[in-house]
Amino acid sequence: MNNMLNGKIAIVTGAGAGIGRATAQLFSNEGAVVYAIDIKGLDWVNSGSNVGRIIPVELDICDFTAVKDSIVSIKKEHGHIDVLANIAGLISYELMPMIDYNQFRKMIDVNVVSLVHLMSLVARIMQRQQGGSIINMASMVGAKGAKGQLSYSATKGAVIAATKSAAKELAEYHIRVNAIAPGMVGSERFKAVLAEKFAQKMNDIPFGRLADPEDVANLCLFLASDKSSYMTGQIIGIDGGAII
């Protein structure tokens, strides 16, 4: 532990599992007070050394009222918010004729609209303190596209565009906004359901393995910390050399 986030207040969405959970845990280990947000799956927070250092907040990020109430409460408790890691997201795989448009609309709501709403709320607090770091979870497919992932890639392309626009709008307040574009990540869900389906594609990863959630969390930590204090508007790939 290097206390890279000592004294910082951080919000991590999608903290119930995978990258979000790994990020919340790592931020806490590095000294931040972490508000771990998810619609479910936060039982892990209430165990061991997490108690009191990571605060579970069970809510649906599409519920604007609940989100705003939570942000106001954090602001009143601490007076500042230093890091927002927008990690919550939905994913789908289907060929174009198979797109479920209700699912697509829901994905836009979670992956894009809620992310923009959270950025907007937290940025209003960060503006007053003249600083902060916002990290958005994009995807390699948002930048490059992928067969069978048109709807998902469209939402992640939107995340990339939103990140760049927010970075431009918030730079004068010294608020940094960056996005991470992972390749294939070996989350529990991926390993359980999709690993076989993508076995062939794994041969395309020069490092010969999927990313672990902790690999991506480490990049989140760098972007959240003052070590990246001169970086904004960047979309950073983390894919084991898949795209070079």
Partner: protein
């Protein structure tokens, strides 16, 4: 300081006007320089002074002195 005095100070400061001009006609259509940047300065000052966080739709509606009073009432700020 009363809430009305706080409100008047904010308007006076944000728009650089005397408090005597603050009336029912003081609105976006009549006030020179009431652009989106000024409107955000106004809402930020309101949030700071009254310790509230305005909803996005209320930020858009802060378009006159009188409307601002109505919006503040939604947040239990009596003027």
């Amino acid at each position: 300081m009363t809430n009305l005095e706080k409100l008047n100070n904010i308007f006076s400061e944000v728009f650089s006007v005397e408090q005597s001009v603050l009336n029912a006609d003081f609105c976006k259509d009549n006030v020179e320089g009431w652009d989106s940047v000024r409107q955000l300065s106004l809402t930020t000052a309101l949030e700071d002074e009254f310790d509230i966080m305005l909803d996005a739709e209320d930020i858009l509606e802060v378009t006159s002195y009188e409307k601002t009073k109505v919006i503040l009432k939604k947040y239990d700020i009596e003027i």
